[in-house]
């Protein structure tokens, strides 16, 4: 690809407790139009990477550039071009979507009218219109997730960072949202997609980055990776690369314990 990368991570290191590194030198570059499946076992360092990219956590060592500039946590400017759906995204549920979006809109530099028009239209497409002024606390899990998705896209960002974004969504909304992602990618937006659901990652990503113990162990398209490792599914590939092969034995043990006499 001859385009300029939107995001470059060089030798990124981070530890919360000295001597126990969470990230042990991560390197990769991301280009416009890519959908990246960012995967790894629990505790591999996915969320830490994402938080660092957003400037929520300081860097121990290494370098991150976004749109050609090193990130500067004291200046929030670069966040104007990022949309973020965190895992278990909590919301100030005592507010209504109207009030929440109004706040985001002001900081994204949208007029109140634009915010309201866009947010209402997006909510309508996701099937939750008519709740614009209700407390978010009264919403179902899926509805809250939709509010998070709309919040992350309201300002038409160039990079989307999504952590389990389909959490709680109904099947129809999942289809719409996947379609939205591939359309956005075609328009040159970059999507950073982190999830534990391998089927979805396999389907939507055109590049997969696998993290094991704070290091990138695989980086490439699903086709390339599966050819290299002779695995037909991303799930199998994931088990292979994380060194996990005894799932059948574990399952058998599990059931046997259930059937033990009390």
């Amino acid at each position: 690809m001859n385009k300029n990368p939107v995001l470059v991570i060089k030798d990124l290191r981070k530890s919360y407790i000295p001597g126990k590194p969470v990230l042990r030198g991560i390197d990769f570059s991301v280009y416009p139009g890519e959908i990246i499946g960012y995967i790894g076992a629990n505790g591999a360092g996915k969320s830490t990477t994402i938080k660092i990219i957003l400037g929520l956590l300081p860097i121990d060592e290494g370098e991150i550039t976004i749109f050609g500039e090193p990130i500067d946590p004291s200046h929030g400017d670069f966040k104007q071009r990022i949309g973020y759906v965190p895992e278990n995204g909590e919301l100030y549920e005592n507010l209504s979507p109207a009030e929440y979006f109004d706040f985001l809109g002001i900081l994204y530099g949208l007029s109140p009218e634009t915010t309201e028009r866009k947010a209402k239209a997006l909510m309508k497409i996701l099937g939750i219109d008519g709740n614009y002024h209700n407390r978010i606390a009264s919403f179902s899990k899926g509805m809250k997730q939709k509010i998070l998705i709309v919040s992350s896209l309201l300002h038409n960002p160039d990079i989307l960072i999504l952590d389990e974004p389909l959490n709680g969504l109904d099947a129809n909304s999942v289809m719409v949202f996947k379609e939205v992602l591939s359309t956005l990618a075609k328009k040159g937006k970059t999507i950073f997609y982190s999830s534990h659901i391998m089927e979805v990652v396999e389907k939507i990503s055109d590049r997969i980055i696998l993290l094991v113990d704070g290091k990138v162990v695989a980086d490439g398209s699903f086709e390339d990776l599966s050819a290299q490792n002779q695995e037909a599914s991303l799930e199998g590939l994931f088990n292979d690369l994380t060194g996990f092969t005894n799932h059948e034995q574990l399952a058998e043990d599990f059931v046997r314990i259930l059937e033990e006499e009390s």
Binding site: G55, G76, D77, K79, Q80, G89, Y92, L107, N134
Partner: protein, 547 residues
């Protein structure tokens, strides 16, 4: 296996099992609830190595102090009947307050019940576990609260005093808990959905205000001693549970006295039976009323409100980020029920403090003209007593985990947004506390002390801003309100510090105004400082340093 707390209640097993309760399961549920309570975080502090006291100890300390204070107030009263009447009344008020502020959540808890109902355990056992859960706390807290009075009674009236106290504490607790449950049941019948939550909120805030204010009035009620000395049992005492038990201490032997005593013995038992037999089985299904029908919204009005809020923001903030913070906080504070439950009673206290200070003089029969001659306007400083506790509780949120959003947004200058957030709290909750007594005093004195009163008003605004120094560097609304609420001794400490600082400011004011005769100079000075403090972060090193 370690002996569980619930095992100590084994003596209750026979009658409860007769009611259809599976005692072993009940004990298991009760134990789990108590473990969960013990592990609730008592402080929002993330520092490691700092010893964290259990919520339990903290609250016990707080109520112990209140109880000792109560005992001290009633100690000089020589007549036993009058003494316990007043003492029991205090304790009744306080235990009602404890019930409403701390343990309503158990009665109205649905989450836990929803989980437990999927397990093979019957409703009766669950209900009994729930009520034992509440009584475990109420019993303990009432004992802590009532112990000083019990000791006083032990000395004054010997064994009979002690027994009367114990009987009163048990009886009043039962009445309080069951009465509260019936109140909620009434609301659950009448309302549903968000309206129901609002009504419960109003009930809780209202009851808390009434109880806190009565406690304040009565604890300053030395003037009432003459009236109280003539206290005798009356028919309307049948409505006041504290009098049922106080009646054991009267020498009278009329049928009314026996009616009161009898009511005190029978009523708790009747109430608890009615609760278990009639109310409890229906209560859990009534709780589903919370999820019923969506509120009917008046969209025109809502749009108008949002517009009006924007114009307020324009008036009090100068940058986009500040105004974003202000609007966010202003709207959030309007709807944060848990925050309101704590802060609104504090607000009421702040307003009433100056009035309470003036009340004894009015009671002593001083005329308005005489009062006007005394510079009583200094009492306005007392409305500043609640500033720190209000801020400490008020700038927290039930949904504090949502604060990631502040860091995910393109904020140029976090200080400005924080200032906006803090302004929203000031305007919603603190300004009224200062403004209402100020206007009252201006009305009372006319223009006579105009510069003094207005100076105090602005010095209080300045103090409110300075108090943010103590609130750390986090964004407002990024810590849990429940964590602070449980830490009552911190509140006590902060209130002391708050009072000390207000008194220092007041003394300085007095020196400047009276020794230097510089009241008119103080006025522009205080206005300037207050505006300067609110429009910059100069006085707030901590906040400035961060992010």
């Amino acid at each position: 296996m370690k002996k569980r707390f619930a095992d100590r209640l084994d003596f209750l097993s026979a009658p409860l099992e007769k009611m259809g309760c599976d005692w072993e399961k009940t004990k298991a549920v009760l134990d789990l609830q108590l473990i969960l309570d013990a592990r609730r975080k008592s402080t929002s502090s993330k520092k490691k190595g700092k010893r964290e006291y259990g919520i339990f100890q903290m609250m016990a300390l707080m109520y112990g102090i209140t109880g000792a204070f109560t005992a001290l107030i009633v100690l000089p009263i020589s007549d036993s009947y009058v003494r316990v009447s007043l003492g029991f009344f205090f304790i009744f008020l306080m235990s009602g307050l404890i019930m409403i502020t701390d343990y309503s959540a158990i009665i109205l808890d649905r989450q836990g019940q929803l989980i437990l109902q999927t397990k093979p355990i019957d409703q009766i056992s669950l209900n009994i576990a729930k009520i034992l859960h509440i009584f475990t706390y109420m019993g303990f807290m009432t004992l802590v609260l009532g112990l000083p009075l019990l000791i006083v009674e032990g000395f004054r009236d010997g064994l009979s005093g002690i027994f009367t106290c114990l009987l009163a504490y048990i009886g009043m607790d039962l009445v309080t808990v069951v009465f509260t449950a019936f109140l909620y049941a009434g609301l659950l019948r009448l309302f549903s959905g968000e309206k129901l939550r609002d009504m419960i909120q109003i009930l809780q805030v209202g009851m808390t205000i009434i109880m806190v204010l009565s406690y304040q009035v009565f604890s300053r009620g030395i003037e009432l001693q003459d009236t109280l000395a003539r206290l005798t049992p009356e028919w309307w005492h049948l409505l006041l549970p504290s009098q049922w038990y106080a009646s054991w201490m009267t020498a009278g032997n009329s049928s009314l006295v026996w009616a009161l005593r009898g009511t005190g013995l029978i009523m708790p038992i009747v109430l608890i039976l009615v609760y278990l037999k009639v109310l409890a089985p229906r209560f859990d299904s009534m709780l589903s009323r919370f999820d019923e029908n969506k509120e009917e919204l008046d969209l025109k009005k809502l749009t108008k409100t949002m517009k009006r809020q924007r114009s307020i923001a324009k008036l009090v903030t100068s940058t986009t980020e500040e105004s974003a913070g202000f609007l966010f906080g202003y709207r959030l504070l309007k709807r944060e029920r848990k925050v309101q439950l704590i802060v609104i009673p504090q607000l009421a206290l702040g307003i009433i403090f100056p009035v309470l200070f003036l009340a004894p003089m009015i009671l002593r029969g001083m005329s308005v003209a005489e009062l006007r001659e005394i510079p009583m306007y200094y009492s306005l400083y007392m409305s500043g007593f609640m500033v720190v506790p209000m801020g400490l509780y008020g700038m927290k949120s039930e949904y504090f985990q949502a604060s990631w959003i502040f860091n995910a947004l393109p904020v140029q200058d976090p200080k400005k947004m924080k200032r906006g957030l803090m302004k929203s709290f000031f305007i919603r909750y603190q300004l009224p506390v200062f403004l209402i007594p100020t206007l009252m005093l201006l009305g009372f004195y006319g223009f006579r002390y105009f510069p003094e009163i207005i100076s105090i008003f602005f010095l209080l605004c300045l103090f409110a801003r300075l108090s943010h120094r103590g609130f750390g560097t986090e964004y407002p609304f990024s810590e849990d309100v429940a964590a602070v609420q449980e830490n009552k001794s911190k509140l006590l400490g902060m209130m002391m510090l708050n009072m000390a600082m207000i008194i220092i400011i007041g003394l300085l004011h007095g020196v400047i105004a009276h020794l230097l005769h510089a009241a008119w100079i103080l006025l522009p000075f205080s206005i300037g400082l207050a505006i300067y403090a609110w429009e910059t972060d100069r006085f707030l090193k901590k906040i400035q340093r961060e992010s």
